[in-house]
């Protein structure tokens, strides 16, 4: 069997298994397709199915096939994160800066603090801190993973709950946008490599200068050219970031964050996001699942995931509740906002993949964080939908 044929077998598995589970088991309410795809990726990985059927695993996922899948996965997730960067709504965040900064700050700060405590607990055992991490990088990295809000999935969930275009949906976008910026900023600091600081500073200076030229060019270009130039810009920024020792995903996010979403047609943007999720992101989910590892023991991984989930949810709810107190929100409002903002999914998965790439966490920590992300996202709709039903007026509430 040639590598091409094995690759196509792998692709058939990637697209068939999650779809069938999602469709036949009708999981959509508590587990949207993306979540099923991530869970399937974990199940198909070396820790579960690979352990039960090592021959199957060695036969299909040869190094050449994994390499080919990784290429697709890299580009898929770069485009996805670029769109996430484009979707930031910093103009609106600035218009409502007081309430946005208070809410986003507390919604990020408290889960970060609780997550850092959970990370400190993990630090006392072998097998969790990555071989290249300093203790502070591990603690902040895991803490930040607990504080992530996944903007793209939040948008999908809010569409599903029919609140995206309502005042509450717009408020959530502002909070999540600001948190997203903070998360990528912290990630850049975590990845700072003092031996390559010159290269990194050089990249950031060149990036800042070229951004001005890029923005002029995009304003000047007709709309039909902007998508093409946007993708060239994405590849160039990702290359620059990776070359300087920052991860290519940091470059992908920066490429999107400095672009204006008004340059692109909103419908086309929605279509592109849906298409990327449909056509190529499943490969990323599988390649993520292939990286899971249960080496410290299944029970330890689940226990760590549970503690991290507790830190993440309690931290987010507490932070938003405090913001609600300061800003005088209505009763129940903070709970809905807190539950929506604790959605982790894709951005956190990207985030922890980067921590693993840079050896700041081990693959066991990665697995625990992945399980935590899945659980956090699966909880969102079942918890929020009944709350929204009870409190319809809150959805129309301006801050």
């Amino acid at each position: 069997v040639s590598t091409t044929e094995l690759f196509l077998i792998a692709m058939a598995i990637i697209f068939t298994v999650p779809y069938l589970i999602w469709r036949i088991a009708k999981t959509d309410y508590w587990a949207p397709l993306v979540i099923v795809q991530i869970l399937t990726g974990i199940l198909l990985g070396p820790g579960v199915l690979g352990k039960a059927f090592p021959e199957y695993y060695a036969f299909v996922f040869t190094p050449a096939v994994v390499q080919a899948l990784n290429g697709i996965a890299w580009w898929a997730v770069m485009v996805f994160v670029w769109i996430a960067g484009l979707e930031l709504d910093l103009g609106k965040a600035w218009e409502h800066r007081r309430e946005t900064s208070i809410t986003a700050g507390l919604a990020l700060g408290t889960p970060l603090a609780l997550g850092a405590l959970a990370a400190a607990a993990l630090l006392m055992y072998d097998g969790w801190i990555g071989p290249k991490a300093h203790a502070w990088q591990f603690v902040i990295g895991v803490g930040m993973a607990c504080a992530v809000t996944a903007l793209p999935i939040l948008i999908l969930l809010m569409e599903k709950l029919e609140i995206l275009r309502q005042p509450m949906g717009q408020r959530l976008l502002r909070y999540a946008s600001l948190d997203d910026i903070a998360i990528w900023g912290v990630l850049a600091v975590l990845l700072m490599d003092w031996e390559r600081i010159g290269k990194q500073a050089g990249f950031l200076i060149v990036f800042t200068l070229v951004t001005f030229a890029f923005r002029q060019l995009m304003r000047w270009l007709p709309a039909k050219d902007r998508w093409h130039v946007g993708l060239i810009w994405l590849a160039a920024c990702a290359f620059g970031a990776d070359w300087s020792g920052l991860h290519f995903m940091v470059g992908a996010f920066l490429a999107g964050a400095v672009a204006d979403r008004q340059w692109f047609d909103e419908k086309q943007m929605d279509t592109l996001r849906h298409s990327v999720l449909l056509v190529v992101m499943p490969v990323y989910f599988l390649s993520t699942g292939l990286r899971t590892n249960w080496g410290v023991g299944g029970a330890a991984v689940f226990l760590a995931a549970f503690v991290l989930l507790a830190a993440s949810i309690a931290g987010k709810l507490l932070g938003v509740r405090l913001a609600g107190r300061v800003l005088g929100w209505k009763r129940g409002e903070a709970s809905i906002i807190g539950w929506l903002l604790q959605t982790k999914a894709l951005i956190m998965i990207v985030f922890v993949n980067i921590l693993l790439d840079k050896a700041l966490i081990t693959s066991e920590t990665f697995t625990a964080l992945l399980l935590m992300a899945v659980a956090s996202t699966m909880l969102t709709v079942p918890v929020v939908a009944p709350k929204l039903e009870k409190m319809k007026s809150v959805v129309m509430q301006e801050a």
Partner: protein, 165 residues
């Protein structure tokens, strides 16, 4: 108490519980573990990120590295981040060295590979700013080892006469 408040309290209790259980585990090793001294070669770099500390390097780590390189250990190849166990021998003062291959040993110490070097639980001893003079005579690291898991915890530094610093 409403459900959200209960969840916040429960979540915080779980996290605080986890960290306290971890600390209690370490304290247990510190209290009940076997006392072992490791020869050290101190250096004292200062770090903006970590405050004042003494960077530690142990002779035992070097012995394990040599043994791994020459294939004398049971598991010669360990990847970055992987955990291994070293059988150790103690002299009459409880100073540890790597047990000779085949020699009886009733104590083993857990280590991890980090950046190609053997990591014995810690590579730094932190002290209060301005008290570094106190530690310049350090000659041994005092460890407590949990017999069952091989986990080692650094509890202090000793001088050449084994006096606590």
């Amino acid at each position: 108490m409403n459900a959200t408040r209960a969840l916040i309290l429960l979540g915080a209790a779980i996290v605080l519980g986890a960290i306290n259980v971890s600390i209690a585990g370490k304290e247990g090793v510190k209290r009940n573990g076997e006392v072992v001294y490791l020869d050290l070669a101190p250096r004292d770099p200062r770090s903006m990120m970590q405050g004042d500390y003494m960077a530690l390097r142990f002779r035992l780590a070097q012995e394990i590295e040599t043994s791994l390189r020459t294939g004398a250990a049971a598991k010669p190849v360990l990847g970055d981040g992987e955990t291994g166990f070293a059988d150790i021998a103690l002299d009459e003062k409880r100073v540890a060295s790597l047990a000779k291959p085949g020699a009886p040993s009733n104590l083993r110490m857990r280590f991890r590979m980090r950046k190609g070097a053997v990591w014995l639980g810690t590579n730094a001893f932190f002290f209060e700013e301005g008290t570094d003079g106190r530690y310049t005579s350090a000659r041994y690291g005092e460890f407590r080892i949990d017999g069952a898991s091989g986990e080692a915890v650094l509890v202090g530094l000793r001088d050449a006469k084994f006096a606590a610093l």
